[in-house]
């Protein structure tokens, strides 16, 4: 495996924690919770026009004729384009990832000769109002010949009718690898446990849908693009690379954003079209996605089968793991990533988890289908892979007659650093402690007692366990260690003001994670000032700090590292001047609690505010050759992959009359190294686990056989609501990272990564008297009641099963 050369920007300063670790209230909240946020829909530019899309009503068809003249003649319409019109400017967006067996696709901005999924944009209309634009959309005159709709990923992967002519084998991805002697492990196994697990197609369904506003000024060739993207700098790069807008005159602006969860970590046709439209009509253009569009045409997620098998020796130790993932990628690779985000990530990132498995083998395939492309959603691949692994762990425990805690403890990695069969190094972790902590929190013997008692009354409760390892702080090193070559790094700018307060800008746009609060904590501790004296600007504009995107649980780690490094440069300046003022050596100056003090000399100190004032206004306080800028920009990229870990235990009850799964309690253990702010970490856990509950029980983007999507409103697509959110008990373990700033690790995805496995395990535990094991999500009331149907005869389940 390739290793990264170590560069300067990979080291971070050591800092005394003051506000880090405390429950600082989110500085964003007074503004956001009282309706003072400014989201993209709130922004109106003078003279703006509105955009609406004609989207394909059929799953797969050849367009034989398309005529927009009636649209163009309609009241209030300024412009209408079909695929032909836009192809002159851009052929489409390439989706590809540098992994073995990835066949790239080009997604046109508007469909060309063929439409490949329901919801694919076919034409775009610019009009005086959104009403006029939607009225005009209804006037489209087009003919198409329907082609066979490829809906089922198993059938697609086996060949047959082609979903997308760019992928004649219906495979966007096909590869695999083997590490260690897997065949021997399976040949010599005392027992093999295996299963096929299905994670259904879901939507990230952010509270705020997508939106784009473009404003082009022809005289200066200046393009301003507002988008609630998670990757503003990448989007800016794409606007230059694909559309030729001059890089130095493009600004991407990210206003307040109501959730992204990966859905907004793509580059979409709509983001490429709006600038072209603005340039063409000479007026600003605005498109706010409506909820129906979001459910149909925002990237879908998570749909795949994972076949997983453990070879177990006579002692019940896992000696090898085989994992085969087949993802339903939809009609195209979702730019700029690809179908790899699901099946490839699942098999490459997750099969060993917390277990000491010496040999691993995997294959991955992604089938093209005539459905919406599958993109990123919190826990890409990790969710499906963790789901399969942790549910198989429970199957293995059942097969061995062990408790789920004992089976996991029996197999858990105990010594660090640990290198998995692929050669990926896990520097540290509290993997065993997580199992112990969860077992204690749930009081397992008491649970078993209660479960037995309730069963006698015809009530079925179940406890499900799931332990995870989460790759966090997405970095060049993480990418390289997993066989890719993507380069990541972010910058931050820190400025100390004359009164000793600080302003910080980071290159990451925020979608609600509280980055302005946690980054203020990091800056405050590094500078030795109060957290209230720091104001953080998350990326509102690409004119400020640079960032590789708010993705891959990297915010706290990467922006935190950059902030600490930049603040450290400023700190050095303060120390130099303080040393001069106190007539001491710079090396002896500490900055803590608002004071610059001489180490070990109790009364030799000056306030940091006074030092700052002096740097701005008092030449006499400067040492010789002093350079007075109190503003620094620094980059950061972790030098190695880093992994957080933890687990959840979920307690459910199944309603015997309805098949409803009721959630009684969630127990969560999280180890993300140094916790910057427990409130924020706990918020991430709650939100993520609830999304996991949604993806397990309530949510599914359903299609019929003709490729029509059936879940186009929240009436039919069921998101979890507060009434199904159970109480949480959260326990923090802290195993600091060996190399990040302050020992922080990322944890933004873990709730969704690990909760579905705990839910399925809990349901299967509750179902155990019925002798039924479920493996497919979502766990609809119908499936659960079917599984319990043995009990609908008055006598109850046969305990002998």
């Amino acid at each position: 495996m390739k290793k990264l050369d170590k560069h300067q920007h990979m080291s971070t300063p050591a800092v005394a924690a003051r506000s880090v670790g405390t429950r600082v209230l989110r500085s964003e909240d007074p503004r956001l919770l009282t309706g003072r946020g400014e989201f993209i829909a709130d922004i109106d530019l003078p003279r703006q026009l509105h955009v609406a899309f004609v989207r394909s009503p059929v799953a797969h068809a050849r367009i034989t004729n398309i005529d927009l003249s009636a649209i163009r003649d309609a009241d209030g319409v300024a412009l209408a384009w079909s695929g032909k019109d836009v192809a002159a400017f851009c052929e489409g967006l390439v989706g590809e990832m540098a992994v073995e067996g990835c066949v790239p696709t080009t997604m046109p901005l508007l469909a060309g000769d063929e439409v490949l999924y329901v919801g694919e944009p076919v034409a775009v209309v610019v009009a005086e109002s959104r009403y006029a634009a939607e009225d005009a959309c209804e006037l489209i005159d087009w003919d198409f010949e329907e082609l066979p709709a490829v809906i089922n990923m198993d059938a697609a992967a086996a060949g047959g009718p082609v979903a997308n002519p760019q992928l004649p084998d219906n495979l966007g991805l096909n590869g695999g690898a083997s590490f260690g002697d897997v065949s021997a492990a399976f040949d010599q196994a005392a027992q093999i446990v295996e299963g096929r697990f299905y994670t259904c197609r879901v939507s990230a369904a952010p509270m705020e849908t997508r939106g784009v506003i473009a404003d082009y000024e022809w005289a200066s060739k200046t393009l301003r693009l507002w988008s609630n993207t998670q990757m503003p700098h990448y989007l800016k790069y794409m606007l230059t690379a694909y559309l030729g807008f001059p890089e130095q005159s493009v600004e991407v602006i990210t206003p307040d954003t109501g959730g992204g969860f990966g859905m907004k970590a793509h580059v979409y046709p709509e983001e490429m079209l709006l600038p072209l439209l603005a340039r063409e009509v000479g007026r600003p253009v605005k498109w706010i996605e409506d909820r129906r569009e979001n459910l149909i045409a925002g990237a879908h997620a998570h749909e795949q089968y994972v076949d997983i098998a453990y070879a177990l020796d006579a002692e019940g130790k896992i000696t090898g793991v085989r994992t085969h993932a087949l993802g339903d990628g939809g009609a195209y690779h979702m730019p700029p990533w690809s179908m790899a985000v699901e099946p490839w990530c699942a098999v490459v990132m997750t099969p060993t988890g917390i277990y000491d498995v010496p040999a691993a083998e995997y294959t991955y395939k992604a089938a093209a289908t005539n459905k919406t492309p599958v993109g990123a959603y919190r826990g890409v691949g990790y969710m499906a892979g963790t789901f399969a692994r942790e549910c198989l762990a429970d199957d293995a425990a059942r097969a061995l007659g062990m408790s789920p805690f004992d089976f996991r403890r029996h197999n858990v990695v105990r010594e660090f650093p640990w290198t998995n069969p692929q050669g990926i190094v896990y520097q540290e972790g509290s993997w065993r402690q997580t199992i112990d902590a969860l077992e204690e929190m749930v009081d397992y013997p008491a649970f078993l007692h209660r479960q037995a008692q309730l069963r006698e009354q015809g009530r079925y409760i179940g406890l499900g366990l799931s332990c995870f390892v989460e790759s966090s702080g997405e970095s060049s090193a993480t990418s390289l260690e997993h066989g890719l070559g993507d380069v990541y790094h972010d910058t931050a700018t820190v400025r100390l003001n004359p009164n000793g307060t600080a302003n910080v800008t980071i290159g990451l746009s925020a979608q609600g994670q509280g980055l302005a609060t946690t980054m203020a904590q990091m800056a405050a501790d590094t500078l030795g000032i109060k957290v209230e004296d720091v104001s953080v600007q998350t990326a509102r504009s690409t004119d400020h700090a640079y960032g590789s995107g708010t993705i891959g649980s990297r915010g706290a780690v990467v922006a935190g590292g950059a902030v600490a490094r930049a603040a450290d440069v400023v700190r050095e300046k303060v120390r130099q001047v303080a040393a001069h003022m106190l007539e001491a050596a710079t090396d002896d100056i500490e900055l803590v609690d608002g004071l610059a003090s001489v180490k070990g000399v109790s009364d030799a100190s000056v306030s940091i505010a006074d030092v700052a004032t002096a740097i701005y206004f008092d030449l006499d306080s400067w040492p010789k050759d002093f350079e007075p800028s109190l503003e620094a920009t620094q980059a950061y990229d972790p030098s190695q992959a880093m992994f957080s870990n933890g687990g959840h235990a979920i307690l459910v009850e199944l309603e015997a009359e309805t098949g409803f799964v009721r959630f009684e309690k969630i127990y969560s253990v999280e180890d993300c190294g140094t916790v910057i702010n427990p409130n924020i970490v706990e918020g991430q856990i709650r939100g993520g686990v609830l999304q996991g509950i949604g993806a397990s029980v309530f949510e599914e983007l359903a299609y019929d056989e003709s490729g029509q999507i059936l879940t186009t409103t929240f009436l039919d697509y069921g998101l979890p609501t507060m009434d199904v959110a159970p109480p949480f008990e959260i326990h923090h373990l802290e195993t600091p990272s060996s190399h990040s700033a302050s020992g922080v690790k990322g944890m933004g995805e873990s709730g969704l990564i690990a909760a579905p496995a705990a839910v399925l395990n809990a349901v299967n535990d509750a179902l155990s008297p019925f002798g039924v094991v479920l493996r497919d999500l979502p766990l609809t009331p119908e499936k659960v009641l079917d599984a319990m149907s043995v009990a609908t005869t008055a006598s109850g389940p046969d305990e002998g099963l």
């Binding site: 959104r130 009403y131 939607e134 009225d135 209804e138 409506d290 909820r291 129906r292 009359e657 309805t658 098949g659 409803f660 309530f698 599914e700 359903a702 059936l710 879940t711 409103t713 009436l715 039919d716 069921g718 979890p720 609501t721 009434d723 199904v724 609809t780 009331p781 119908e782 009641l785 079917d786 609908t792 008055a794």
Partner: protein, 283 residues
């Protein structure tokens, strides 16, 4: 999701409202808009003109008339939820109303709008059928009343004429044994199955039982086989079990992504069982 163009009028009298409806066959009444506006926004309906009832006097009010309560079509779900008259005289309505959507929608949506809409998943159609309510309507041909049994005739279809306005619903208060049962995945969701059952306790038995089912079926309907069963004798656990089986045998539930026909049949049976057991305790 923007509605197509429509005209809008806000008449100040009932007569004026009726005139607007009579003048244009594509006119539609607008009450709370909680069902109609989504249909417009999704372009599933395109009326030429909306006749808004919110300024029409006389459609409000909950009036205790002794053996019945007269409820104005413009009364919101929220007003029903908070009404003392309803709580005392028609507790089945108080029990059902909290299942309708969320407070925001209950504050806008109306009793009359919901009844006229005749959504098979709506709580009111199922409840009104089980109570044997009487609908009061006015149209260009004058006033008339329609019994609940003759009112709900199909999915989203009532016997109200296109140019008629539902003004009030008269709900009998004599059915003091009652039960309302709903199976919904989450609070505020439309139910997967609804069952309402009522009767008049008489000599330790239940007289004139009415049992209705909604949501699981294409249109709300009574379960007359179950009703006959209940009139046979005292309500017992065994009778509840039999009622569940009878209900399962006599419904023809719908299938959709939220549950297939067999699943909904089981739900209806469970809800009927629960309802009858509650009647037993009430009788």
């Amino acid at each position: 999701m923007k509605p197509p163009k429509f005209r809008y009028v806000a008449p100040r009298t009932l007569d004026e409202a009726v005139e607007h409806l009579a003048a244009d066959p594509d006119a539609k009444v607008l009450s709370g808009g909680q069902s109609l506006m989504p249909l417009l926004a999704m372009r599933l309906a395109a009326p030429s003109i909306l006749v808004d009832l919110q300024h029409v006097p006389g459609l409000d009010g909950i009036e205790d008339q002794g053996s019945s309560v007269l409820i104005g079509a413009g009364v919101t779900h929220r007003e029903i939820e908070r009404s003392d008259v309803i709580a005392q005289r028609l507790p089945i309505l108080s029990s059902a109303v909290v299942h309708i959507a969320h407070p925001q929608i209950r504050s806008r949506g109306t009793f009359g709008g919901s009844t006229a809409h005749a959504d098979p998943s709506g709580e009111w159609p199922t409840v009104l059928l089980a109570l044997g309510a009487t609908m009061h309507a006015v149209g260009p041909r004058g006033r008339r009343t329609i019994e609940a049994d003759d009112f709900f005739v199909g999915p989203f279809t009532s016997t109200l004429d296109e140019d008629e306005i539902l003004t009030h619903v008269s709900v009998p208060t004599t059915r003091t044994a009652w039960s309302f049962q709903e199976a919904a995945v989450k609070r505020g969701d439309y139910g997967l199955a609804l069952v309402a059952a009522t009767g008049i306790p008489r000599d330790g038995q239940l007289a004139e039982a009415r049992v209705s089912v909604g949501a699981a079926v294409g249109s709300v309907r009574r379960l007359t086989d179950v009703e006959r069963l209940l009139s046979r004798g005292p309500v017992t656990d065994a009778l509840a079990e039999e009622a569940a089986l009878t209900a399962a045998a006599s419904v023809d539930p719908i299938s959709d992504i939220h549950g297939n026909s067999e699943y909904r049949r089981k739900l209806v049976a469970s809800l009927v069982r629960r309802a009858v057991l509650e009647l037993k305790n009430g009788a």
